[in-house]
Amino acid sequence: MKVNLKVWRQKNNNTAGKLVEYSLDNISPDMSFLEMFDVLNAELIRKGDEPVAFDHDCREGICGMCSMYINGRAHGPQTGATTCQLHMRSFSDGDTIVVEPWRARAFPVIKDLMVDRTAFDRVVQAGGYVSVNTGSAPDANEIAIPRTIADEAMDAAQCIGCGACVAACKNASAMLFVSAKVSHMAVLPQGQAERKIRAERMVAQMDAEGFGACSFTGACSVECPKSISLDHIARMNREYLGAKLTSENV
């Protein structure tokens, strides 16, 4: 199949970028979207042009690197999937496809489609951990956790930190990501000791990074490749307000 691409090209964070048009023939519908970009880059290199910089690593939907805003949607037209899991069969022959980087103040563009997502790392460093020596693995069932709670924690822990929630949100809010990280520890016994300070610190860091506030449009959850639920945002609000009202930190 044939596709026309409009790809965001930007040398670095200090220069202005623009959409550049490319067209590719002989694209197999079975190629992944990233493989299509590999074909484009091979062609650019052959012509002596600079290849398009884009992030990717696992190419199997678990690392969260492949950030691309495709035809107005984070990770493209599919839901519940990353860009590496998107295939060219989701498009029609002759389609024009616009590809842009994630847009957020907290995610500055490094080059072309690559953005700096270390803001997420700093949010996690602010409290997304359990700082006790866990020792060796405890015996199974030594710590009783009801199945529903375990499921809830695991659902939240599925977040791969891809940033699609921020990219899709009209406010560039990181609530879905941060709430997933707050949630999966807030519901488990191991997370109790630092429950309040975690919510307080992670929200403070989220704000310091320059993410927007939550309008509950739900766009994040729809575009999230792991379909993280809005329940977690409500829980984080509850955790944060509860912590602010009752913690020892004045």
Binding site: R103, C214, S215, G218, N237, V250
Partner: protein, 232 residues
């Protein structure tokens, strides 16, 4: 910064202020609606005028009304602060976006809907509240007691088709604001639960976004039709 100001100036705290003021305004709507149903009584406005007298003389209601004015101001001010902050969080926008693919129109346009409501509230208060408190309202006498005849002011305003039209459009905006806002307000407070969220959503949609705005819109329409002798 003390923990209080720190909490209230965080992104979550600001939303809590939006939510508390917004939900308070929503409860006020129910009271305001119930009282104004007196307009439908075919008694030349007696019940309505007695009701407005009560509302402007009861000390408890007067206290709550100051809370109400404050809520409107704080809600609108915080809406402005939040909207600016949210816009600044994405300094460079996408060239191509399809927001309709993942979210409802009302949820993305709370600011525009709210601005319509703010303009409406100013107009509404100028026409009735200002006249009642500072203007010259004709008097009516029931059982030897003098009452301000706000009913006549209401009928005069609603006899004009364009004034009625502004009300109807504003009530549509109110419906869209609340179809998202009511349930969102609860989530902002962290109140989301399998058992109650479906109830809150149903209440927000059928009562706050449909029934209440429809009844409010029915008042100017009814009075317009009556004043212009379309109905008896």
């Amino acid at each position: 910064m003390s923990w209080v100001t720190q909490t209230l100036s965080s992104s979550l705290g600001r939303k809590v202020i939006m939510s508390l003021t917004g939900l308070f305004l929503s409860t006020f709507l129910v009271v305001h609606m119930a009282g104004n149903l007196q307009l439908f009584k075919g008694d030349e406005g007696r019940a309505f005028n007695e009701y407005t007298y009560f509302m402007t003389h009861n000390p408890l209601i007067i206290t709550v009304s100051y809370l109400l004015y404050t809520s409107i101001l704080v809600h609108a001010l915080m809406a402005f602060v939040l909207t600016r902050h949210n816009q600044a969080s994405r300094p460079v926008d996408y060239a191509f976006k399809r927001p309709e693919a993942n979210s409802a129109w009302s949820s993305r346009n709370m600011g525009i809907l709210g601005t319509v409501l703010l303009i409406f509230i100013i107009l509404h208060m100028r026409t009735f509240w200002y006249e009642m408190h500072f203007g010259s309202v004709p008097m009516a006498e029931y059982d030897g007691k003098q009452y301000k005849d706000l009913y006549t002011v209401v009928v005069a305003a609603f006899s004009q088709w364009w004034y009625v039209l502004i009300y109807v459009v504003s009530m549509v905006a109110l419906g869209y604001h609340l179809v998202h806002g009511f349930q969102s307000g609860f989530q902002t407070l962290g109140l989301r639960h399998k058992k109650y969220t479906p109830l809150i959503e149903a209440l927000g949609t059928y009562v706050f976004a449909i029934l209440i705005p429809a009844l409010f819109a029915a008042m100017p329409i009814y009075i317009f039709l009556k004043a212009n002798n379309f109905i008896g």
